[in-house]
C-alpha cells in the first residue's frame, strides 16, 4: 500500500441530503482499497455521523457553508477528514451516552458511533476556525466477524 497524500476531496453545501453522496464516495474508494463490505458499512456510518455533526453543529445547516471531506491513504490506513467552519467545541466535555442518565436521551451518540466503528478518531481545530475530525481505519484488516468491535477510546 503506497503512502499517498490527499486522493479525493469532496465539498458539499450543508444539507443532510448530501450525506448519502459522501457515503457513496467513501464506500467506492474503500472498496477499491479492498476493504470488505461489512467493514465498509461501519466506516460509512461513522463518516455519516462526522458529516452530520459538521452540517448540524458545525455549520448549523447553512447551505452556503461547506463541509469538506478528504480521503487519503496514510501508511496502511484509510484516513477520512471532515471539516466544517463552525465555532468548534470541546470534545472532552461530551457526555457518555452509555451512562444510565443518558441512555434514553434522543441524541448524543454520534461521536460514540465514530469511536465504536473506527480504529481511531481525533478532533482538532481548523486553522481558520471550525472543527476537523479525522477518522482512521486500518486497511488489510479483514475484521473479526459480523459486527464491529465496540471500541471506546479515552482520548479525543
Amino acid at each position: 500500500m503506497p503512502v499517498q497524500s490527499s486522493q479525493v476531496r469532496i465539498s458539499i453545501g450543508s444539507r443532510f441530503e448530501h450525506i448519502d453522496l459522501i457515503q457513496i464516495v467513501v464506500d467506492d474508494a474503500l472498496a477499491r482499497l479492498g476493504l470488505d463490505e461489512d467493514s465498509r458499512h461501519w466506516v460509512g456510518i461513522a463518516v455519516r455521523e462526522g458529516v452530520a455533526n459538521a452540517i448540524k453543529h458545525g455549520n448549523r445547516q447553512d447551505p452556503d457553508k461547506e463541509v469538506e471531506v478528504e480521503l487519503a491513504i496514510e501508511d496502511d490506513h484509510a484516513v477520512i477528514r471532515i471539516e466544517d467552519s463552525g465555532e468548534g467545541f470541546d470534545p472532552s466535555q461530551v457526555e457518555d451516552p452509555l451512562a444510565p442518565e443518558n441512555l434514553l436521551k434522543p441524541n448524543g451518540r454520534g461521536i460514540f458511533y465514530m469511536k465504536s466503528f473506527m480504529d481511531d478518531i481525533q478532533y482538532s481545530q481548523r486553522p481558520g476556525g471550525g472543527t476537523v475530525v479525522t477518522l482512521r481505519k486500518r486497511i488489510g484488516d479483514k475484521g473479526s466477524g459480523r459486527g464491529p468491535a465496540p471500541r471506546r477510546n479515552q482520548e479525543t
Binding site: 450525506i19 441524541n107 458511533y113
Partner: protein, 113 residues
C-alpha cells in the same frame, strides 16, 4: 426510506424500509409513531427487517418513539432485527431497553400476554 403501517390483532405494525438517518428517515419514523398514537393505538410494533442503515439520529428517534409511547401508557416493541441493527443496539446498550422479538406472531402475541 418509507414506512408502511398495518394492523394485526390490536397491534399497529410499522415497517420502515431503507435508511433511518438524519434529516429524512428519522422524521418519517417520528411521524409514523405520532400518527399511530393519534389514531388511538397503544400497542406499537416496529418491523426493522427492511432497515439497511440506522445512524445515531435514527437510534435517537427509536428511543424517542419508545419513551413517547411509554409516556402515553403504551408499548413499543421491535422485531425482525437485521444483524447490523442488533449490533448497534448492543453497542449503544439499548438492547436491554427494548423488548425485541424474532418473529411477528410472537411479537404480536406478547402484547396480550
Amino acid at each position: 426510506m418509507k414506512i408502511d403501517t398495518r394492523h394485526s390483532g390490536g397491534v399497529t405494525i410499522l415497517e420502515p424500509k431503507g435508511k433511518i438517518t438524519i434529516g429524512v428517515g428519522d422524521v418519517a419514523l417520528r411521524d409514523a409513531v405520532g400518527e399511530a398514537l393519534e389514531a388511538g393505538s397503544r400497542n406499537i410494533l416496529v418491523n426493522l427487517g427492511g432497515v439497511t442503515t440506522i445512524d445515531s439520529s435514527g437510534i435517537g428517534e427509536l428511543v424517542s418513539a419508545y419513551t413517547t409511547v411509554s409516556n402515553r401508557g403504551g408499548k413499543l416493541k421491535l422485531y425482525n432485527l437485521p444483524d447490523k441493527v442488533t449490533d448497534i443496539l448492543q453497542i449503544t446498550q439499548l438492547i436491554s431497553v427494548f423488548e425485541v422479538f424474532e418473529v411477528e406472531d410472537e411479537a404480536v402475541a406478547s402484547f396480550s400476554a
